[in-house]
């Protein structure tokens, strides 16, 4: 049994983390000693993109999975085929994945830009409080 996880969700043009979980069909235990290969293919009117990349435990955070970092060059529907070999046994599974256009940099980094006005507002509040405090002190002085 083969399950594929993709990050980010949804997948976008750029570097994607594709992780594969391989389980025995009978006992559903994780298979850790297989060789896993990802084959991604996309045909458009003008270009054919093809990526073949091995997936490994080393690239995965969860060491039960096999992962590969794949640079997806274009948006659209990609065909993903996962090839698994273990000794003499071989299996494969395939399916389509949808890759969206890259997120505009502003959309992915807006937080860092928003940090500036946020801190400016906090500074303005700080100055306002200081002025108020000075004013209060001045008023209570006999």
């Amino acid at each position: 049994m083969v399950t594929v996880f993709g990050a980010p969700a949804p997948l976008r043009v750029g570097v994607a983390d594709l992780s594969v979980m391989v389980q025995g069909a009978a006992d559903q235990n994780s298979v850790l000693d297989a060789k896993v290969r990802l084959h991604l293919k996309r045909s458009s009117a003008t270009n054919v993109f093809e990526i073949v990349v091995p997936a490994s435990h080393a690239a995965a955070t969860n060491k039960l999975l096999y992962a590969a970092h794949v640079n997806l060059p274009s948006a659209g529907k990609w065909n993903l085929e996962v090839g698994v070999t273990r000794g003499d046994l071989a299996a494969s599974a395939s399916g389509d994945i949808n890759v969206l256009p890259p997120e505009p940099p502003l959309a992915s980094h807006w937080l860092y830009i928003a940090l500036v006005p946020l801190l400016i507002v906090l500074f303005a509040a700080n100055q306002w409080l200081k002025r108020n405090r000075r004013f209060r002190r001045f008023r209570v002085r006999p």
Binding site: S30, K63, H69, N126
Partner: protein, 720 residues
Amino acid sequence: MNSVASAALTSWTLSARVIAILLIASAVYFRGWLRGRRLIRQEQDYLRLWAFLGGLGVLFLATESPLDAFDSLFLSAHMAQHLLLMMVAPPLVLLGHPTLPLLRGLPRRFVKEGLGPFLSWPLLKRILRSLTSPPIALLAFAVSTIFWHLPKFYELALRSPGWHAAQHASFFWTGILFWWPVVQPGPGKFRWPRWIAIPHLLLADVLNTVLSAFFVFSGRLLYPTYEAIRASRMSAQDDQTIAGLIMWVPGSIIYLVPALVIAVKLFSPVVPLSYTRRARRVSAPRVSRTVLSRLPQLRRVAQGAMLLLAIAVMANGWWGTQVAPLNLAGVLPWIHWRALSVLALLIVGNLFCMACPFTFVRDIGRKVLPAGLRWPRWLRKKWLPAALFVVYLWAYEAFGLWDSPWLTAWVIAAYFLAALVIDGVFRGASFCKYICPIGQFHFISSLVSPREVRIRHSAVCKTCQTHDCIRGNDHARGCELYLFQPKKASNLDCTFCLDCVKACPHDNVGILPVAPASTLIGDPYRSSIGRLSKRTDLAVLALLIVFGAFVNAAGMVAPVMMWEHGWHAKLGPKTMPAIVGVFVIGGAVLAPLLAVLACAGFNRLRMAGPEVTRRFIFTLVPIGVGMWAAHLLYHFAIGWGAPWVQVSSVPTWLTSAQMLVLDAGLLLTLYVAWRVANQYTRKLRSALALGMPWAVLSCMLYATGVWILFQPMQMRGMLH
């Protein structure tokens, strides 16, 4: 251990961001804890320290351990993670009584000036008091627990890393609110009676029991994602039952044990805490001062090491392969040295000039060279190094210095020769002060450094008759850049040579902390420099360094390179240096000129003269340094391993780190501009009007910087 278990146990997330936050929090707490112990020693000091660090350790386990790697596969793992975030980490953190140690651990001035007004704001105090009151805290905790366990929102958090982080943050922070009335960490007396914690905990346990019973007995699969994945033989329904049991049994224990302890304590006689006040404050040996006091001796070692590196770079540049990423002359000066010297500026100060190999050779040469003439008076300004800096910006792009080891080697050799000849003929450090563009870059940039070579106590200098810091003595020469320590008010023109530190007979000069860019706020008379408001040449140099940061970074992004190559194709071969010249002159000379004229024009409407303009020009230095740092960080991050490691892609954290550096630069610029504006007028509106053109200019520079950072960049200095 079987292979599955061992694979599971090695699945650590180890996110640099989380680890950095936890380490910073630990360091700040520990610093504050140490300071607190110097003032008053309590019996529970160590318990508090270990509790706080333990709380952070639990946070680390919850977010970085295999629990995190498996939370998308098993509900039980996710539940254990949530248990740690809500019920273990918050009480441990609060048992560390963190408020005072964290405040003590932060820079005093920041706490007093930055946080002080907020901490003493009655409205905020009221809000915090309400949030930590048992009813509100329990309500927040209950809402957060129920909300995130609703299938719709739980699934959302499973799908989206952003929402997942929000879920964990809300668990932890509502956990802090919930446990506050139980632990009552202070400071100050808690307004509710102690017994209130018992019903508070019991009610939470009731909620926990109801929710976990629903998980165990509902018979409905709440979260279909786990069924879709089926990571093991265990069914998703069984997994849900285990999750419910984890929530139920350990969860109830965590609520009931403290309730029991508090009940027992309430019925026990009160034992007063024993305080041991120290008879007198004992100052522990200060490691930093010990290390820094040895720096004058270490300087020669650093200079020697840099000299050897420079010789290796030149040799490799002349006789090695001319593929820049495989040659030391293509890698060390342009990737490592530039980035590390700017990093040193941001962390300590002008360490490059301290370890300068050029002045090392000069010092050796002076044993035979006369070095008796005085530097011509008409050249005692910064115009020449300013012009040389523009030449550097142009030559770097026009001749692709970064891509030519051979040329780089010649530039370094020319530098050695110039330092030797000029300082071999003229007295003092004329080369450093009046010629070296690298030195000028470091002088100006070190205005934002957190350390400065300065005096410890002005009273000691007032009684000093010998002025060894500038005149020198038998042990050390005096300052070669004519900086008289009592009147030296910034890092400007300071090479961190530490001659003054060595020469001072009173041990009154050191590398001491200073708030970054704070020396730009005032305009005192500075030894050997005068007032910044009177120095047009220095202001122009600062402006070139600020705008040069953007020009230098823009030169490697796709739109600018396409523009250059477009003109190159139109105008024909051998025109590239001229095209680059137009770009550099336009960006680093004409653009700042027009911008400053516009700002000065607006200021003139408010009767502000050129002195004000010069003062405000210096306020742009932080954003300029921010841009240099962001740009050089890029080269360093992708090329640090060259020529040994081939990097295939840009690290995902890089743009975020660059943005943070640029943010810091902009904020510091705006702050300094605000303080400078306030020196000219006490009225809020007038200060805003005076500083506004400069604030707009710095925001425009920031926008330009963001645009540059978002462009595809040429991966210089690496094989690709």
